[in-house]
Symmetry: C2
Subunit: 210 residues, 2 copies
């Protein structure tokens, strides 16, 4: 076969993603990844020399899933209101498909914040875009025009992202305390929350006289 190779590499990454995201770097076992990929443990080290390197790859892929959409939305020409609504809609959908990634990323970054520096060094373009500066400029421009209330961009972004991500990473505790551990009910809650968060955010930055 021409590409048994790529197939194996793909199976490894799939398995590694599952195991790392569920158990974390320290909890993951190379043997379990090998088993899940249906290969020999030695083959893992043939493709990715160390656990560390395999982990970095998985982390980078997980992290990169959330970057392009963010750039696309934030650098587009839409007004802030539309951007925020679209951002919430888009990322809440994305998180439904990848619910383990935020907790994984947050946890591993708390364990070793250096990971982020490494990613920035490898993918310079992420920082070069000056994503934040450009978005901040747009916000303050719209504030000046009276389209939105005066607001600190960092606080606003923290709020938007937090309201999206928190119910996902804290799912076990919220579902356990407020929803009697009913999975279906919590899924419904998350679905319904999309419009709630949109309104919540928009209300909070809409000028009083609008």
């Amino acid at each position: 076969m021409v590409n048994q190779q790529k197939d194996t590499e793909g199976k490894i990454l799939d398995a590694a993603k599952d195991v790392f995201q569920q158990k974390g770097m320290t909890g993951a076992r190379m043997q379990e990844i090998a088993d899940k990929a249906g290969i020999n443990k030695a083959l893992l080290h043939y493709y990715y020399r160390t656990k560390e390197k395999l982990f970095e790859k998985v982390f980078e892929i997980a992290f990169s899933i959330f970057i392009p959409r963010m750039q696309e939305i934030m650098l587009s020409e839409k007004p802030v209101f539309e951007k925020i609504e679209f951002f919430i809609e888009s990322y809440m959908d994305l998180l439904t498909k990848h619910p383990y990634i935020p907790g994984f990323v947050i946890n591993e970054l708390n364990r070793n914040p250096q990971i982020l520096v490494n990613i920035f060094e490898k993918n310079i373009h992420i920082k070069e875009n000056k994503l934040f500066e450009k978005f901040d400029a747009q916000i303050q421009a719209e504030v000046k025009k009276g389209i939105i209330k005066p607001i600190d961009t960092r606080n606003l972004m923290t709020n938007v992202i937090g309201l999206i991500v928190f119910p996902i990473v804290a799912r076990p505790i919220i579902q356990g305390i407020m929803f009697d551990n009913d999975k279906k009910q919590y899924d419904a809650f998350l679905k319904q929350r999309k419009d709630f968060v949109k309104e919540f955010i928009i209300n909070s930055i809409k000028p009083v006289n609008a």
Copy 2:
């Protein structure tokens, strides 16, 4: 000495708290805990037979730090607005003193949601209080009186807690991307955020004609 015992047990718990909260259950090493406590590793197993049991104790203590204050505030006689403001003030201060706990709790619960069930079984009173039901009743009562906008209690609580907790658990990523990894700047951000979040929440539930 009368109580070398309690002293040792305390030193163990202190050390275990540090190590578990920083490295998680799977990343923590009994040897490191022993070293940090200044004792022999065998002594750990003398006081807490297994790693699992020691971990459970540490988790329970960490978890319980956030319960009493929550109960006190939510079951008090104040109106909702005051409760929320006081809640935000109080918990943001608490998190400044215990910044590692939320990430620790969230991470371990994602790894093994069963932990929460065990805690509820041990500490029945937490669930018996019907904390949520009582608070929900108050909210809906004030909604009826027109003091606050119609709002879903679960969504509101998720928002309040999320806005408080998220900047703490996601600190490495937010500080890295939006604050150029400047620790002091981020501390200032968190301090300033208290009033911001209060306003943000209050604005969003204040009736339009108020």
